[in-house]
Amino acid sequence: MSRKTIGTLVAGALFGAGLVVSGMTDPRNVIGFLDFSGHWNPRLVAVMAGAVVVYAGMLRLLGPIVRGIRPLPARNNRVDARLVAGAAIFGVGWGLSGYCPGPAIVSLGSGARGALAFVAAMIVGVVAGGALGRRRSGCETPVRSVREA
């Protein structure tokens, strides 16, 4: 196994652990967050805050040290119809399940009812969406540094 593969395996395990510890693998916590008219569940805000504080802090701390090898992920300020339409379609699916991709894949490992059906359908959607061509994500690293792999 290459060092990169070990790195992404560790990242996946840490990511999954974060989702389990924070309760985000329970769809009811997500639906509760989106339910502004009922008993609003603010837990997701704490999760996002924790993740953003640590990631933004680490980029700031480590960015200058690894500069040249690991440029900071590029900032994307381009807002277009495709971005908004895609986010809206994702939001509808998110609300209709309580699953976004990460928690759904962790729940697949847990054997939660419905998780396998959701992930299988999600892969179909990814293939269909991917066929429309690639959109740069919110903060994608310049392509050159990816190829240096």
Binding site: A11, L14, S22, A87, G93
Partner: protein, 137 residues
Amino acid sequence: MLTGFFGGALIGLAATVYWLATGRTAGVSGIVDGALREREVRGQRLAFLAGLVAVGLLAAVVGSPAGASPYPTAVLVVAGVLVGFGTRLGGGCTSGHGVCGISRFSIASIVATLTFIAAGAVTVAIATRLFAAAAGS
């Protein structure tokens, strides 16, 4: 709430490790896409996804299984297609736009995050009424 913040911090750490290892953003929908379509990085992407699945399995084994979605499977299938398609169209999900993009103060990610939260909130508002009506009839 404290476990929420602590779990979130682990996610931020995971995104840092992923960036250091690959130079890329840890967006789960993009990683799924890469595992399917980019042959030269498939192993790395699959390793990340294997880490997610393994932790889910471990959580279930030690007696902390994830709760199931309250929606019926047929609805979950429709939702799954929408999540997969929408995240590829919009270039990211809760992790790529929500965590990584916002951490970089990316305007596109902030707009995307506000959009999917709003769309999700409207969907939940409609769905809870529909399912309550169906359960009551």
